[in-house]
């Protein structure tokens, strides 16, 4: 059994990537299973998806805690303690990171358990799809290639099937297929050792004692504790206020759905970047068009 875990952010096509691998493995004659995990979050929030590939019936369900192949579609996740994409991987886990950085440097800075395989998928996505955001086909192709179990032909067919479900046909489909060929060619299969089945050992179950009702019922007495949940790295786009132009009308302050724009003592709006999710509603609402939309990462293209 091969267990693949894919990490990325809402909107990047991580679920589709896991499905492309799932269908490709299935077309190549394997049993496969894929499963995304997301809560009530949205675009930009960390997302994880799983693909299991096996010659035998798959007797597992749900999340994969110890992956054989770990695909990180967005390198900013490496710094996110909530996403903790490396968590649960060991020396035997093959790491793939969508990054242009030197693998040695990545290993050192993020304390990775092994030297990662890297490829700059975002750049390739920009080149082929004119969109660096959606990485489903590129990441799915990278994963499928690294397993060494899936042929290019089955992978291309899988991409056609999965994109067809999303209504993607014609030239956009062709561009995706070209992207798949490029990624497939750029990477080599890695050796992934079948994990030894570990013997079961009893869980550390515990007996709960009854607590007083204030501790036993779901009561929250702490105020403003949402501040601790930093959502700033959900941003794909970054709003930036041009203070030369802004007339302090407070409309952005009123319209930000996250309530993360504050008016400073001089009456100027200030964005709290630790929590701004980058929805860009403020930019839409600003009557003076004083809020610019920038890419969070320095891509070459202008945001649309």
């Amino acid at each position: 059994m091969l267990r693949v875990r894919s990490h990325g952010r809402g909107g990047q096509g991580i679920k589709t990537a896991s499905q492309i691998m799932g269908t490709a493995a299935f077309l190549s004659g394997y049993q496969s299973q894929d499963f995304p995990l997301y809560g009530a979050e949205r675009r930009g929030a960390p997302i994880v998806a799983f693909t299991r590939v096996s010659q035998k019936t798959i007797l597992e369900r749900g999340p994969i805690s110890l992956p054989d192949l770990l695909l990180i579609g967005d390198e900013t996740l490496l710094e996110d303690p909530q996403a903790a994409p490396i968590c649960g991987s060991d020396e035997q886990t093959v790491l793939f990171i969508n990054s242009e950085k030197d693998p040695q440097i990545l290993k050192g800075s993020f304390n990775l358990p092994s030297l990662p395989v890297t490829c700059g998928l975002t750049k390739l996505c920009l080149q082929y799809l004119n969109d660096g955001m959606v990485r489903s086909t590129a990441l799915g192709a990278a994963g499928a290639r690294l397993t060494g179990r899936i042929s290019l032909e089955d992978l291309l067919e899988s991409v056609e099937i999965e994109l067809d479900v999303m209504g993607i046909a014609g030239q956009p489909l062709q561009s995706n297929l070209d992207l798949v060929r490029e990624v497939f060619g750029a990477l080599n299969p890695v050796t992934i050792k079948e994990r030894e089945e570990s013997a079961l050992s009893p869980s550390k179950l515990m007996v709960l004692e009854q607590k007083e009702v204030q501790d036993a019922a779901p009561i929250i007495t702490a105020t403003r504790n949402m501040v601790q949940r930093k959502t700033g790295n959900w941003r794909i786009h970054r709003p930036e206020i041009d203070y030369e132009d802004c007339n302090n009308c407070m409309i952005c302050y009123a319209r930000c759905p996250e309530g993360v724009i504050e008016m400073d003592p001089e009456g100027k709006p200030v964005i709290d970047y630790d929590h701004c999710k980058g929805c860009m509603i403020c930019a839409q609402e600003c009557p003076k068009h004083s809020i610019k939309t920038l890419w969070e990462m320095d891509y070459e293209l202008e945001p649309q």
Partner: protein
């Protein structure tokens, strides 16, 4: 390329449910969205919109009206499908009881999700257990394939002249509803041969032909008559399930029984489970056997009618049984546990010990190691209380959250 694709397709549990309904040639769907069920009605609405399905798809204002509309449409003799989950099922509960008593056949899918409070999106079985006594037939699916097959078989059972009761097919939210695995989609013609268009055997509502259903009754005798009739019909559904499963196996090659025995025959310890976590249980059984523990698993595919005899026969002679309930009746424990004990009570060779285990609540995983803990508890003759699957990791996680929540 591989010939796999012609026969099987990667489907989520939700899509498999929609495919089951599609192959059944459903004519009417009253719908109301709720996570994690929404993908089912979304898929169906698309098929109605693009002409794949002929009939009517109606967005309702609530689950309460939705189940009422499902029953009312079934009473006109059309084939009806609907789906819900969790709080939605609870909101519709009054209507579910009501239309089940009308004795009209249709199929509903419940995508299991734990109930408030606290509210969550993740699965357990308290929602489907809340419909336990409504008078529905209940089939619980472990795999995406079972979801599709049970929906198709569900119509045949629901519409059988001796049953005429709505069938509920249950699948776990997230773990199955959003998981894709290869599913064999029966050929349309074969599905139609197995399940011809619905021909009601009872009078149905027609324009200009006045009749009434479900009028009020007074004096308990009449009421009792109808209720006993409902019970008899529900009990009949087990035989009908077996007949239907036999025909299904002949046509499609997949065999189903009210209970599935996995390494039960020589087992010294048997786990009783239902739904998708049974897959994890099966894996644990194989591992325990490698460690020298003769384990087995009994999966309940049918929950209503309760297949007590089949369960008793399967568990007869087995020394130790653990009933794993992914639900909790506070003040009582697991809901399925007492039903299993009742089924075994008058059997001479009943198990020496039947342990109640409560786990997998609100999306909490049941780990393979937990199964070894269950075996250990079964060997400890002292304990009387249910075993709750809550471990030190859960506790420390909770404590961290509590620090944030409390001043």
């Amino acid at each position: 390329m591989n010939s796999n694709l012609n026969k099987k397709r990667m489907l989520t549990g939700n899509k498999a449910a929609a495919w089951g309904a599609r192959l059944a040639g459903i004519e009417y769907v009253p719908a109301f969205p709720i996570t994690p069920q929404t993908e089912i009605v979304e898929t169906l609405s698309q098929w109605f919109a693009d002409g794949t399905l002929q009939g009517k798809f109606t967005n309702m204002d609530s689950e309460h009206s939705m189940f009422m509309a499902a029953g009312a449409a079934a009473a006109t003799g059309v084939r009806v499908f609907t789906a819900s989950s969790s709080q939605g099922i609870l909101h519709g509960l009054e209507s579910i009881y009501t239309v089940a008593g009308w004795r009209v056949p249709f199929v509903m899918v419940n995508v299991s999700r734990a109930l408030a409070t606290p509210i969550t999106l993740e699965p357990d079985h308290n929602d489907v257990m809340a419909t336990r006594d409504c008078g529905l037939i209940q089939l619980h699916a472990e795999t995406c394939q079972e979801v599709l097959d049970f929906v198709l078989m569900g119509y045949k059972i629901a519409e059988h002249p001796l049953v005429s009761i709505p069938v509920l097919v249950n699948l776990d939210g997230f773990v199955l509803s959003f998981s894709r695995e290869p599913v064999m989609i029966p050929d349309e013609k074969a599905a139609l041969e197995f399940l011809p268009p619905f021909k009601p055997v009872q009078p149905v509502f027609r324009a200009s032909q006045p009749m009434a259903r479900a009028s009020a009754v007074f004096g308990g005798g009449t009421y009792t008559y109808f209720r006993i009739q409902q019970d008899l019909a529900a009990r009949q559904a087990e035989t009908v399930f077996n007949e239907t499963a036999r025909e299904f196996a002949e046509r499609f090659g997949r065999t189903y029984e009210p209970v599935e025995r996995f390494h039960v025959d020589d087992a010294e310890v048997v786990f009783v489970m239902s739904n998708s976590f049974a897959t994890k249980g099966k894996s644990a059984v194989l591992k325990l056997r490698k460690q020298g523990i003769k384990a087995g698993l009994l999966k309940l595919s049918m929950f209503r009618p309760f297949p007590g005899e089949a369960i008793a026969n399967a568990l007869a002679g087995c020394q130790k049984v653990a009933v794993i309930d992914q639900n909790l009746a506070p003040g009582m424990g697991g809901i399925i546990y007492p039903e299993i004990v009742t089924a075994m009570y008058d059997k001479k060779d009943r198990p020496k010990k039947i342990l109640s285990v409560v786990g997998g609540l609100g999306g909490k995983d049941i780990k393979e190691d937990d199964f070894l803990s269950i075996v250990e508890r079964l060997n400890d003759s002292e304990s009387k209380r249910p075993l709750y699957l809550f471990d030190e990791g859960d506790w420390s996680q909770f404590q961290q959250l509590q620090k944030i929540a409390l001043v």
